[in-house]
Symmetry: C2
Subunit: 374 residues, 2 copies
């Protein structure tokens, strides 16, 4: 009997609805593994987050990154709590992993789903939206530098310093061109703001021109971030793959998900494309304390994130190319996505999407669908 791959996953549910949606995702993935029998998977719970912070004075232990490095990937819930300032919780956990672990590519697939409508009349219903947004995830506006002087004085000054490096820009640019190359349309849009920001943004423009030379089969264009929002609204069909800075793509990816009608189910991957470090997969939604504990959270973003994770760890065996086939993991991811589509199309949804189900109802429907499909 040929051996099947075994995936070791760190689960970090963290705060708010994080634990609810991550446990739903683990259940679904376990059913997937049990029915397909093409891989085995093991989740290890890491209890980091605000409760940990209140007990230990920090969001994760000092050796957290070393511990994470012993896994094939991480599945992350959401961090943030009403009684801790957001910048403390986020820099305590999520941003303390993304940058230091060099998870420099944040990938956000954006697509329309059956049963979920785009609110845009400019979207051709027959085609829908199908974009891949690539966000630089390790530097730029999120370098964490800057400070405040003369606290609370009328002459107080505060700075935010965005730091861009040629190395950092080049690696994300190369990743984005490869991602575009792997898609049927092979088109990349590079987003900057080089008319008003004269240093890092001009460097982005220059690096784009240089890296593009290595991808003669990829067509590409350049947009200013403000004009890009207009293009997303007015000409959604002209867009395929997009790359930009940490802040710009944070904004554009939320907008994109909203335009696809799928903000509640959007997934994101924090990748180290060199595969030296395990990548981290997370729903785009936040900790949503207003609905925490009610069992009504939409688990689909966590399912989709788990699918991206399976695809990535599957490809781990065959290389970092986004376009390559990844064996069991990728195949399982495809099944998972197909089941999400079917469950959505059947109208089995939580209230945020206009449905009547709770977290359990959607999870159960997913498990049934997986068993039927297998």
């Amino acid at each position: 009997m040929p051996s099947i791959p075994h995936y070791r996953i760190a689960s970090i549910p963290a705060d708010g609805i994080g634990p609810e949606v991550i446990s739903a995702a683990i259940e679904v993935v376990n059913v997937l593994a049990d029915t397909r029998k093409t891989f085995t998977i093991e989740f290890t719970h890491l209890p980091w987050g605000t409760a940990y912070y209140k007990e230990h004075g920090r969001y994760m232990p000092p050796d957290a990154l070393d511990r994470l490095r012993t896994f094939d990937a991480g599945l992350f819930g959401s961090v943030g709590a009403p009684d801790v300032p957001d910048h403390i919780s986020l820099w305590g956990l999520l941003l303390a992993i993304r940058g230091p672990m060099q998870l420099y590519a944040n990938v956000r697939p954006i697509r329309t789903f059956p049963g979920i409508k785009s609110p845009l009349t400019t979207v051709d219903p027959a085609k829908g939206i199908d974009w891949v947004l690539v966000r630089e995830n390790s530097e730029g506006e999120y370098s964490g530098q800057g400070g405040r002087s003369h606290l609370r004085q009328p002459w107080e000054t505060a700075t935010e310093v965005a730091i861009f490096t040629r190395v950092g820009i080049e690696r994300i640019m190369r990743f984005a061109f490869e991602a575009a190359q792997a898609r049927p349309r092979k088109h990349l849009t590079v987003v900057t703001k080089s008319n008003s920001m004269r240093n890092g943004m001009v460097l982005w423009d220059e690096v784009a021109v240089e890296v593009a030379k290595d991808f003669p089969d990829v067509t590409w264009d350049k947009m200013l971030v403000d004009a890009m929002t207009v293009r997303m609204v007015a000409k959604p069909d002209s867009i395929d793959t997009v790359v930009g800075t940490n802040l710009h793509m944070d904004i554009l990816s939320d907008l994109a998900a909203a335009l696809a009608g799928s903000i509640g189910i959007a997934a994101s991957s924090n990748l180290d494309p060199t595969r030296k470090n395990p990548s981290l997969f997370e729903p785009v939604h936040g900790s949503a304390f207003d609905i925490t504990g009610k069992g009504v959270a939409n688990p689909v973003a966590a399912f989709w994130s788990a699918a991206e994770m399976l695809k990535w760890v599957g490809k781990g065996k065959t290389g970092a190319d986004l376009g390559e086939k990844g064996g069991a993991g990728e195949e399982a991811a495809e099944v998972l996505m197909r089941c999400i589509e079917r469950v959505c199309a059947a109208g089995i949804m939580t209230a945020d999407l206009g449905g009547k189900e709770d977290t359990r109802g959607v999870t159960r429907a997913m498990c049934d669908e997986i068993r039927k499909t297998a």
Copy 2:
């Protein structure tokens, strides 16, 4: 006979389609003055821009700001040319006026017009969109600081430094609360990104809380810039007045205009609310060299900018409050806006809005409409 006000305006058409739309606007405003006879107006042409740069090595003369200060207001076209890097042309002219002249409030009215549809299904057609976006226009991400080290080396680093001051934040916050207070709904949304940016953005949050105390009749809420794009798409009706940083509102205001279906006609005001310096009014659209010289540019953004200008100089006599009545100027602005609405509703539009007219055709229709209305 009572004396009527006289307005002295600097016209800076600058580059691309700038001269075409500004001369159309001047024509329309002159017809307005001639027919209403409630004010007189005089435009002085300042030939600054890329042609000036090519002759003199700078975009405007060294005493440009002093010369501008002799006028009641400025009407600006657009700056930028294909053969000059954008950051040179923009920092040479527009950004060299906005910051140094302390035109710290950039106001962008966003609304739907008869005959121009919002591409959003979430917009109630009976209500349309009616927002006011207030952008901090003198500091923040556009402070112009930062640099590049080790040019063209693999270890090159580039920085963009955003500088925020308590003074700068407080004055724009106060302006925005006043703008909200003057509107029927009296609601303000303060946009920041204080979960990932820990210095200037947290200062913004703090100042908002303090300034809000002086406006007990204004309701307000706080949004992260990424989440704000989602709200604009999904719940447009929940928005009234919005304030944010130079970069954030640059992005959100383009998005807003696109969501209202009116990006081609959007206007913006660069205001010094203290009225120590003359304010500058400009269409949001760029220099559009692809259509320059063809006579097809949409002049409506310039008309709308001229209306905002008349409103502002009119109010100059009665104080800086956005909500106050401004006599002849404000009344003329109202007529101008009504005529824009009628011309749009009649389908007299340029090709960018799906119409069949050229610049002259729309301008002529506007002049006719003004004569009919008066």
